[in-house]
Structures are given as C-alpha cells and as structure tokens.
C-alpha cells in the first residue's frame, strides 16, 4: 500500500509537472496513468501471492484405484462410463468433470490389467483435454506411443499414468488453474466411489471394499471446499456442490458415523447395510447426473 501510495503520488506529480510544460488534457492523462499504475500494482502483488493458510492434498486417481484394488475390488466390465459419450459433452463443466471420470476409469482398467480398455480412455482424455484448454499436457502424442509400446507391461503403464498426473498438475499450476483440479477431482472421486459401490453391490460381503468406500468419504469435504474456490465462480457448479453436500450431510447423520465420531477410542468406521445402500444410491444418482449427455 505504501509503495502504491508513493507511486501514484509520484506519477500525479510528474503528470502535473508535465502538464505545466504545455501538454494537453492533463487530468485525463493523470487518470489514465493512475489506473495503469493500480493495475500494474495489482499484478505486482499477484507475483507474491501466498498459499492459503489451510490447504490439502487430494490423492491421484491411480492411488485411489490402487487402494480399491488392494481392498479386494474386482474388475466389472461395462461399469465404466461409455467412451462414446465423450463427444456429446459440449459444455465446459461436463467436459472437465468427465475428464476426471475417464481418468478414474483409465486407472481402474490399468490396475485391473485391462490395458486395451485403458487405451480407449487415454484417447478420450486426450480429446477432452483439447476441449478444456489442456492439450499441452498430451501434446506430441508421446504418451499414446508409450502406452502402445507398453500395453503388456502394467508397471510401465502405471508409470505413464503418473507422468500424465504430474504433467496435469504442473500445467494447472503454471497456468494458475489449480482451482480446476477440484472439478476434475470431483468427477474422478464420484467415478471411483461408483465403481466401488458397483462392485460392493454385486459382491456383498467384501468388507475391504466397503471399508474403502467409507474411507474415501473423508475426502469429500475438501472437494466441496475446492469447488467453492472463488476462482470457480462463473462455472455452473451449484448443482454439483449441492449434491455433494447432500451426500456429506447424509453420511454425517448415519448412526454409525455419529457413534464413531463420539468414541475417541474407535479405530475403524463400519456402516450398516442400510447405510451402505443409502450412500450407494446417492453416489449413483450423482454419477448419473455427471455422465448424462
């Protein structure tokens, strides 16, 4: 503020001095310079922008898929979003959300040794990245070439997915677009939860998968917080935030959750069948909205 005050005053002084030397329209020029300086000062301050006081790290889609896999989740053909839908996502929000959905689907396929299916999702993600201004992440086709060269090598494909995640992270940061990561992640989280719920309903009794569905709920509050970033204003996120808040509120009101939170010594949260069913219905309804064309 002190620097801005000095700069603005110096300029006004200079401009008046200049005006007294026979110039024209000094007042307009002073206003113009003051406006330019304020703008430049704002840009200057932005260069020294600080991280929020409280921040968080969300897990990558690959880690989420890996954790579900370790928890006993099986591959269910036909449970992922149809790749044909991608062309019909014409608004930016749907494109960003489904960029996340397809990222989760790709991770799910790769973790379950379905590389050929995974390749289809890489193609769709690449196409969507162009629509949402992130084509630089996938440029030069090197990722696709690497994928093709390593179709039979799961480890290499996983490393390639890590590269994609890292490139995406770097691109969003370099272009001051980190706020959009929450939108991608909202899609990826919903799809990951849906795939877990799908498997859990088809194969009841998989305690590990059920426990993982519960554990993934811990992320939701921070996703909602990320979606509410003021930089996301102007994106039609209201319905998504409301649906996610509804899921969070329903979860928080489950008797099992209330009892768990009240018991300082409780170690693992386990929902009842009814609670799993209720949570599953909410997740499925949200996923349906996100992937609808």
């Amino acid at each position: 503020m002190k620097r801005r005050f000095l700069l603005v005053n110096s300029m006004i002084g200079l401009a008046f001095l200049a005006g007294s030397c026979g110039g024209e329209e000094p007042v307009d020029e002073v206003n113009e310079i003051v406006q330019d300086t304020v703008f430049a000062e704002d840009q200057f301050a932005a260069l020294f922008e600080e991280s929020p006081e409280v921040d968080y790290h969300l897990p990558s889609p690959l880690q989420v898929a890996s954790i579900f896999k370790k928890s006993g989740l099986d591959y269910n053909a036909g449970s992922t979003n149809l790749t044909d839908n991608a062309d019909n996502y014409t608004d930016k929000l749907k494109q960003k959300l489904n960029f996340g959905v397809y990222s989760a689907d790709m991770a799910y396929c790769v973790m379950n040794d379905q590389s050929n299916e995974g390749r289809k999702f890489l193609t769709v993600i690449t196409d969507l990245s162009e629509e949402i201004g992130m084509e630089a992440v996938f440029e030069n086709k090197d990722l696709m070439d690497r994928f093709d060269a390593n179709l039979e090598d799961k480890d290499s494909i996983e490393i390639l997915m890590i590269d994609i995640h890292e490139r995406t992270e770097m691109y969003l940061e370099d272009n001051d677009m980190q706020n959009e990561a929450a939108i991608h992640f909202a899609g990826a989280w919903t799809e990951g939860m849906y795939l877990g719920v799908y498997d859990f309903e088809k194969n009841p009794g998989k305690e590990g998968v059920g426990a993982q569905i519960t554990e993934q709920m811990s992320i939701l509050n921070n996703i909602i917080k990320g979606l509410k970033d003021p930089k996301n204003d102007g994106t039609d996120l209201g319905w998504l935030i409301l649906d996610m808040e509804e899921i969070q509120a329903a979860f928080d009101e489950f008797d099992s959750v209330i009892a768990f939170e009240a018991d300082e010594n409780a170690s693992e949260l386990e929902l009842t069948d009814e609670e799993y069913s209720s949570l599953g219905e909410l997740v499925k309804a949200l996923r349906e909205k996100i992937i609808a064309v």
Partner: protein, 174 residues
C-alpha cells in the same frame, strides 16, 4: 515534454516490474527443479502429487497447514524440499488440524532450509500408536509449517528477500 516524463515514468515502472517478474520466474524454475529432486527422494515409492506452499516471511510468526490423507494401511513417504527458503522454518506433523487442542505432535524438525528431508508414514504411525492408547493407524496427517517472524521484513510489499516456498512431494508404496 509531458509525454517524455510520462514515458520515463512508465519505462521506470516497467523495468522494476520486469526485474521482479524475472526474479520470480527464476524462483519458479528453481522450484520445478526442487520438485524433481524431492520426487527422486521418494523412490521406489510411487509419486502421487505435490503441494507447494508459497509464503512471504513477515515480521510476525505465521503457520501454514497442509492436510494429507493416508489410506488403507498404505505406506507413504513425504519429501520436503526447503531449497527455496531464505530462512529456516519448523515442520510439525500432527494427527489433527490446528483448531484441535488435543492433537498429537507426531514429528517436528527444523533445518530444512537448503535441504531435502524425507519422512515416512510408518514412523508417524509408530509415534501415534505410542502416544495414543488403542490407536490403530493414522488416516490423515496435518503438516504445519511454523514460519518465524523476521525483523525488518516487508510485510505489505514483500521483496525477493521475503519470498519463500516449501516443496512437498507425496508418494506411496505400491
């Protein structure tokens, strides 16, 4: 004449702005390199993402907090790179966020300035179980950067002397 003064001023401001922008660009490029170094220190764990915490040293103490999830008994590594710190900070890791008075301090270290330090979740879990009876595992941790006050720091109009960042890279055991 008038236009000459105006041009002179605008030119002067542009130089100041460009110099600062150039310094900050270099600062960011250094961070990219530090991220690579921090990522290398995770091996053989799988990279899961990074969180770069930017701040400006001020005349008073500050705290920045980062929440990290630990899932399903997975082993994690956290690689902290402090090579963009003009002054040292203290890193504290807790089981709960800073609003909770009963939170447990799991690890605290300083001397991160100019260094890359790796912390493993197994170590944090052991401390957690030792300090809290009946505890089985951590489900999340809260990293607090305790940033000391620096006499003479420019609070309102920071310069490169005050500009700082800690690069934190997370990885998990596959």
């Amino acid at each position: 004449m008038k236009r000459g003064f105006i041009l002179l001023f605008v030119f002067g401001f542009a130089i100041l702005f460009a110099q600062t922008a150039a310094n900050l660009t270099e600062f960011k490029e250094n961070i990219a390199n530090q991220k690579v170094e921090a990522k290398d220190a995770l091996k053989p764990y799988r990279f899961d993402g990074s969180k770069i915490t930017y701040f400006n040293f001020k005349t008073y103490k500050q705290t920045k907090e980062v929440e990290i999830y630990l899932f399903n008994n997975t082993d994690y590594r956290f690689s902290f790179n402090g090579k963009s710190l003009p002054n040292d900070v203290t890193v504290e890791i807790y089981d709960k966020d800073k609003t909770q008075s009963n939170r447990i301090l799991l690890k605290s270290f300083s001397g991160i300035q100019g260094e890359n330090i790796v912390v493993e979740s197994s170590e944090l879990n052991d401390t957690y179980k030792n300090k809290k009876s009946n505890a089985t595992r951590l489900k999340r941790v809260f990293v607090n950067y305790q940033i000391p006050g620096i006499p003479g720091a420019q609070n309102k109009t920071p310069t490169m002397k005050e500009r700082a960042a800690v690069v934190l890279v997370m990885g998990y055991k596959n």
